[in-house]
């Protein structure tokens, strides 16, 4: 049963639509015709005047019928929809109604207007109102006199900054950003290893300030963080500075307006800021990871609020980080790294590729401690002006990485514990020969930054990176 009458016409209009007003004479002709006509008005039950009109202001029927444009004329036959015309199309309307002289004197065609049931945000509102979608998470009623921000703080849901209150409407809108079912379990989130559903991800993404179109990225970020080799539990629990650093590659970074240019590692871009924050809120709220609890950072770093940016992929000759790490070209992906703060590497004097590689290696050698080796990983964020020096010499990713590896080899004897009057250093058995600063694949080279500035950035990695069999950066393709 469809609930629709047989052999009838159903017309959906709104007074606010100029086309609907233009075709008022034709609507009256339909009403006088042989087929029963029901007129459903989305905004004014007195329109069109002089006819019985069904009050459609609750938009429920329009929503169920999937109306996108007004006017829409439906031909019903045997209780089912037998035909549909959107906007004023005289020939089509004549066909549907069987009135061969319908609309004589009116233009042949006029486009309609957007239906109110598909106005921005309205479909989700109607889905909630009509019970088409439900939210399983516990409801927390905020008393009229209470401030929802303070309630969120009171429950300990925030990272110290205000959150966007996760209301049903915002959650349903967020869930529209993915085709995945709200009840699907994405994984077990440390440190408490509790199941996190897509719905919980959406709630925390709302709180972080994400737009629905960021949700696929947030889901991929969480899945990447939960890969055992990323060791999210250890990264959370460490006394070291580090937290997850997220690099986004591929078309989605541009589609959602991520920043890979001026101030790429800084504030001001909504996607950069909120995607990183969403991960931290999920770890906090679902996993139960809070500073002073399992998070035992001695000092931490400001990137633990959020640390997420996109790679500059504007040079077609540059191999993006994701591709270098095995993701097919042209796909969107996230890479997660265990990073602490940003260290500046200023070099305004090197003019050749070799000079610059040696210079960058000097800065990179300081990661963790200048006398430590194969102890932590690092990201080198290569700015456009520094990259231009390499590019002028014909160097791209492979040549730059090879040169840095060459320039990061140091005599073991100079790094031993106690050498140079400094207690810190490597073990005595490594005295002979050369020692590399990083494990193979332990240095991630990424391009980002504004066009001006002969400076690049080093993001040092977690001390857990010394355990190369147990802890590694991860990359994951984004499901779209």
């Amino acid at each position: 049963m469809t609930g629709l009458p047989s052999d009838a016409l159903l017309l959906i209009v709104k007074r606010d639509c100029p086309t609907c007003r233009l075709i008022e004479p034709a609507i009256h002709e339909l009403a006088r015709g042989p087929l029963a006509l029901t007129v459903l008005s989305q905004d004014d039950p007195a329109f069109p005047p002089g006819l019985p009109v069904e009050d459609g202001r609750d938009l429920a029927r329009s929503h169920r019928l999937g109306i996108e444009i007004v006017p829409t004329l439906l031909r019903l036959a045997d209780g089912r929809e037998a035909g549909r015309a959107t906007g004023w199309q005289r020939a089509e309307w004549r066909g549907l109604s069987g009135l061969n002289a319908l609309g004589e004197g009116l233009p042949e065609a006029r486009p309609g207007c957007g239906a109110l049931n598909v106005a921005p945000g309205m479909p989700e509102r109607l889905r909630l109102k009509l019970g088409e979608v439900g939210i399983a998470s516990r409801a927390i009623a905020v008393a009229e006199d209470d401030d929802e921000m303070e309630v969120a703080y009171g429950f300990g849901w925030t990272d110290g900054l205000p959150i966007v209150p996760p209301t049903d409407l915002r959650i349903v809108r967020m869930l529209a950003g993915t085709g995945r079912k709200p009840g699907e379990v994405v994984g077990l989130v440390p440190p408490n290893y509790l199941p996190c559903t897509v719905e919980k991800v959406a709630i925390n993404a709302v709180m972080a300030g994400c737009k629905p179109e960021y949700l696929p990225v947030v889901l991929a970020v969480l899945e990447a963080a939960l890969l055992p080799i990323f060791a999210m539990h250890g990264l959370l629990a460490t006394m070291y500075f580090s937290g997850p650093v997220i690099i986004v590659n591929g078309p989605i970074a541009r589609a959602i307006g991520m920043n890979s240019g001026v101030n790429a590692l800084g504030q001001g871009n909504r996607a950069n800021a909120t995607i990183g924050r969403a991960l931290q809120l999920i770890i906090r709220n679902v996993g139960g990871g809070v500073p002073g609890g399992i998070d035992r950072a001695t000092l931490g770093n400001p990137g633990k609020y959020t640390f997420c940016f996109a790679e500059d992929e504007s040079d077609p000759e540059w191999t993006p980080l994701s591709v270098a790490r095995g993701i097919p070209t042209g796909r969107s992906a996230v890479t997660l790294f265990h990073g602490d703060g940003v260290t500046a590497l200023m070099d305004q004097k090197s003019r050749t590729a070799d000079e610059l590689s040696r210079s960058l290696a000097m800065g990179l050698a300081g990661v963790g401690h200048p006398k430590l080796a194969e102890w932590a990983n690092a990201i080198l964020v290569l700015s456009p002006e520094h990259y231009a020096i390499f590019r002028k010499s014909g160097w791209r990713r492979a040549e730059i990485e090879a040169a840095l590896r060459r320039d990061l080899m140091r005599p073991g004897a100079s790094l031993l514990c106690g050498a140079g009057g400094v207690g810190e250093g490597i073990a005595p058995e490594r005295a002979a020969g050369l020692v590399h600063k990083f494990h193979p694949d332990g240095l991630l080279v990424v391009r980002a930054g504004g066009r001006a500035g002969l400076m690049s950035a080093i993001i040092g990695g977690w001390s857990g990176g010394r355990l190369v069999e147990e802890v590694q950066p991860v990359s994951k393709e984004i499901e779209l």
Binding site: S137, V142, A143, E148, P165, P166, T167, L194, M207
Partner: protein
């Protein structure tokens, strides 16, 4: 209009937040005695102070300017900084 938010956590804690547990012992703690500014509050707090001091427990005295208004933020912050336990006095 009141609003409903959805719980972002794994829902292993009850919605009603538990009160902070009182300490098992007052030994070594500083107890703040807050006079709310109403008649005879001081008389009550003097007796509490006497009893606590007899047991070697350190007390500090505070007073709201008036019982008709809530305590000023600066006073609350001072008490939170200087004490671990607070007794509010009222003796009608």
């Amino acid at each position: 209009m009141s609003i409903v938010m959805r719980d972002p956590t794994a829902e292993i804690a009850p919605v009603a937040r538990p009160r902070v547990k009182p300490p098992a012992s007052l030994d070594g703690l500083t107890v703040g005695l807050l006079c709310i500014g109403k008649e005879r509050s001081l008389e009550f707090l003097d007796r509490v102070a006497l009893r606590l001091n007899e047991r070697g427990i350190v007390t500090r005295r505070y007073a709201k300017p008036t019982h008709t208004k809530k305590a000023p933020v600066a006073l609350l912050q001072r008490i939170a900084t200087e004490c671990q336990v607070v007794v509010e006095g009222l003796a009608d």
